[in-house]
Symmetry: C2
Subunit: 355 residues, 2 copies
Amino acid sequence: MTDQDSDPPRLPADKLQTFIARAFAAAGVPAQDAAVIAELITEADLRGSDTHGVIRIPTYIKRIKAGGINPRPRVRIIAERPGTALVDGDNGMGHLAMRIAAMTAIEKAKKTGVAWVGVRMSNHAGPAALYTMMPLAHDMIGLYFAVGSNNHLPPWGGSEVLLGTNPIAVAIPALEEPPVVMDMAPTVAAYGKVRLKAARNEPMPVGWMIDREGKPLTDAKRADEGHLLPIGEYKGYALSLIIGLLAGMLNRAAFGRDVIDFNKKPEVVTNTGQAIMAVSIEAFSPVTEFKRAIDVAVRDIRNSPRLPGVERIWLPGEQSHAKLLERRSKGVPLPASLHKSLDDLARDLKIDPVM
Amino acid sequence: MTDQDSDPPRLPADKLQTFIARAFAAAGVPAQDAAVIAELITEADLRGSDTHGVIRIPTYIKRIKAGGINPRPRVRIIAERPGTALVDGDNGMGHLAMRIAAMTAIEKAKKTGVAWVGVRMSNHAGPAALYTMMPLAHDMIGLYFAVGSNNHLPPWGGSEVLLGTNPIAVAIPALEEPPVVMDMAPTVAAYGKVRLKAARNEPMPVGWMIDREGKPLTDAKRADEGHLLPIGEYKGYALSLIIGLLAGMLNRAAFGRDVIDFNKKPEVVTNTGQAIMAVSIEAFSPVTEFKRAIDVAVRDIRNSPRLPGVERIWLPGEQSHAKLLERRSKGVPLPASLHKSLDDLARDLKIDPVM
């Protein structure tokens, strides 16, 4: 949940990053791991993932303190084929497991052309785009699936939340244009948006949620009495289910009733599942030719005729890329409520505040 | 487009299959290829894919006769890595190229754990589920992406149909339950449904299409004046785009303005792109344990609490599986208009009619 102060103060990314590293180190995470986590979380904020970046660190650290996250995991590969691996995150921070999974997928795909690495015993790892984009620097395409950190979606026609806002993400590199990066949950609204409406005392639009009688639910404070709606009705349900089976069940990670609410049960191990793929472009097409063709496709779409009232056609990932450039130069917005929560955390951990 | 006669005559699957083989052979397709095509198309009809099965053969054969499909293709692998291949369909029937692609993916995944096979110079190949399900018999999961055979979707905010109803499909095997098979286009309605409404002189629901001013379009006869709407607004747009880049662009197959309308331009080569993946379950989890867990997940979902008025919660692919069992025993429905079109075709090709 973010405030949306019209113009909050800005914090240089390096300051944010050293604060995050300080916080995790104070919570018992080895310095090297804390540095990795801090870099990834900062990148999330730079890219505009305000609901999946630094705003989450009080929750992460609460879980570490409550025993729900292992601060000193030994992340390891427990099954392996030339093009696949299963990574056990040892219940550490999801960022650590997912980074190793992505690196493993990239190394394998250099030899086999494609690799699929599943992760079990992981935790919430921030925005999907972080990992999906890792293969880009190696002239590879990245694909990512994850089981959401709590269930907010029933099967289509049902009223029990057996499924999550399980994200699917794909990143494809261009030559001069920003990469095309899709990162979506199969629900109409993300749950973070519901929380934001509740915090602001604003009603939700019809179509975001229904109650257990199937009636539209627009009072965000009553969100616990209903559930999210999937995109495309039964289609979003199918997508969430399939992602949950691929990222959870296949890795013997939590699925369905076994999914633990990450926010509500800080002491319970989540066994979160994720999966990442790397696909070598060169295995199919000369790399530069492919990237140039992506540039053309991006420009064709951007410059195509618009509906009345539409100012601009965006490509998936383009707005995040614009934020990345802006925030790298001007810093990450630090709204008052976030600033306060980080100050509270600093006091609690007896570390220097963020600024 | 199907008629929906309340109770049309039934045709035994073997009769349908021999008719289809006869038709393709008469159109110049070698007997062995015609048999493969006939088996796949019949399977489509058995599974209830009435819009993607035998109803399409007059179009396929029209294309063969017009020079738009090569009746005697030499399907071959033109690039290869241990876990990947690029198949050139030589502009033959898509069924032939896709079958070889799926078999190649399965063989590769036996060694590498995962394989991704792209296809170029292919054509419409019938329903995605046909190929996505091929890995199941090898204790593998199948994933499939394809570029639709014509463009009906603009980018979000746009009015030029640069994108297609590009399907994404995934098949996951269970032990005793039917496999979980998702096969969806990222649009609210399939274009076949629009054609059906037009044929029946029925209005379309609001939400299926809009016109180029962005206003709801409900007159199906005016479908050419507008375009389909994506599921989840910008999300379905992103999904269609990504699928198009993975299944089309990566394989140097048609994408965007290069996509040829399969129905309207029978003489033009489409260069259709598809991609299939096979993922070995054993590379991640003991196979029987995994399949048993899928059974449990399927039953948990089916038996979970329902919204008022909902009779049954369906799993993706379950209705197709039920149709398969029913049609195997009772035959494939042959509505009058389909029967007539097959009789016309038989006369045209100078072959025995279907029955």
